[in-house]
């Protein structure tokens, strides 16, 4: 420490020093009358500033509060634009979930029609649809285009993996019935695995998007320090 502790006296007075620096200032003050006098002057200045009332008369508190209440705007939480924006934020994941359910429903129905085809039910449905008067669920399915796809599947056969199509077109005529049966089994496993992977990808994408949405929500609502800038 230099000859005097002037540069640290303000911080010492305000209780902003600590540890070694505070002990050094205290030790210095014990032996330096000039710094003690300066500290007392600073203490006196602070007391003068704080204890001297303002040289002005202000509006009484009651009237100030009344005036303020009259000019108080609606609380931001109750304001329409913010409410609408907030509603939008809540609807975003709901909309996403709705889209996901729709797609899953389409895929599930497709699976049902495929299964129906396998058991021969769709043949009868197809006959009803193409030959007779469609009724009930088939009318609805037709309206959404699902039945057409199911019908196409019915006429086109089982779903086939690309590799299965390639192998059967190249070597199908040379294969025995047992080999074709084994290959068909592998094809079904491959198609099933592909569907499973596709389903997993969808759910992973939904989870990822939901996390992104949560992060964006947190960023919008995280409290920020208020700063005074010159």
């Amino acid at each position: 420490m230099t000859e005097h502790a002037s540069e640290w006296l303000n911080a010492y007075l305000d209780g902003e020093l600590g540890g070694l620096r505070q002990r050094q200032v205290e030790q210095h003050l014990e032996r330096c009358a000039a710094c003690r006098a300066e500290l007392e002057a600073l203490r006196g200045l602070s007391a003068l500033l704080r204890e001297t009332p303002p040289a002005a008369e202000f509006t009484p508190t009651g009237r100030f509060v009344t005036n303020l209440m009259l000019s108080l705007p609606r609380h931001p939480d109750a304001s329409q634009p913010r409410k609408a924006a907030s509603l939008g934020w809540w609807l975003a994941p709901a909309g996403l979930l709705g889209a996901w359910f729709f797609l899953r429903t389409v895929l599930t129905l497709t699976g049902v029609f495929t299964a129906a085809d396998a058991t021969g039910l769709l043949k009868q449905a197809n006959a009803w649809f193409t030959g007779g008067q469609p009724t009930g669920v088939f009318t609805a399915a037709d309206a959404t285009g699902l039945l057409k796809q199911a019908n196409a599947w019915f006429t086109g056969g089982q779903p086939q993996a690309a590799w299965f199509v390639a192998i059967t077109s190249l070597f199908g005529s040379q294969m025995s019935a047992a080999q074709q049966s084994t290959l068909s089994l592998f094809n079904q496993v491959s198609v099933f695995g592909g569907d499973l992977f596709s389903g997993f990808l969808w759910q992973a994408a939904i989870v990822l998007l939901y996390w992104v949405w949560l992060a964006a929500w947190w960023f919008r609502h995280a409290p920020r320090p208020m700063k005074i800038i010159f």
Partner: protein, 183 residues
């Protein structure tokens, strides 16, 4: 001066205000109005301007109650907003705060001598504060009238702690010279 509100009651009033309860916010304003107006007045030395800025500070507080962190000091938060509002007002007024000659120093015809002396001293103190530059004045007001720590002042003004210390040292040095006869 109103008695200080117990912490629990103040926390309840803040929560109710957040939900849009004007009456609860009115009670908080009643509690801190004098302090806030006083702080702003120390910054700009104009009663009308101080009350306008204080009103603006409370309006800002009302609008941004969501950004107030529970568990921290509402008083300090309001004072920081108030000083911010005062600086905005000063910027709009091109940093020309009121001439203290226009401040009513005392009703000399009717007031007792002691009151007159007190008012004259108040005017000298205010004139001395006003002679500081806005950045130095802001640091001094936040420390002396808001009792913020150096860390809080640094965060409020977005300046390093070292700058807070040097500005405060300089401001107090100037005031000691200007108010020598009152010390």
């Amino acid at each position: 001066m109103l008695a200080t509100l117990p912490e629990e009651i103040e926390a309840n009033l803040i929560e109710m205000s957040r939900q849009g309860d004007r009456s609860a916010f009115g009670q908080l304003v009643s509690q801190y109005q004098r302090g806030v107006v006083n702080v702003v007045y120390r910054m700009c030395s104009d009663v009308t301007l101080a009350e306008d800025a204080a009103q603006e500070a409370f309006l800002r507080a009302w609008m941004h109650l969501d950004s107030f962190r529970p568990g921290t000091s509402l008083r300090n938060w309001l004072y920081r907003i108030a000083v911010n509002a005062a600086l905005d007002h000063l910027r709009r007024e091109r940093e020309t705060p009121a001439d203290l000659e226009t401040v009513r120093v005392a009703d000399q015809a009717n007031g007792p001598e002691a009151e007159l002396l007190q008012r004259e001293r108040s005017a000298r103190v205010q004139r001395a504060i006003l002679s500081l530059s806005a950045p130095n004045r802001a640091v001094l007001v936040l420390r002396e009238y808001c009792q913020l720590s150096y860390q809080e002042i640094a965060a409020s003004l977005d300046i390093p702690i070292g700058t807070v210390m040097s500005r405060l040292n300089y401001a107090r040095k100037c005031l000691r010279t200007l108010l020598e006869n009152d010390l």
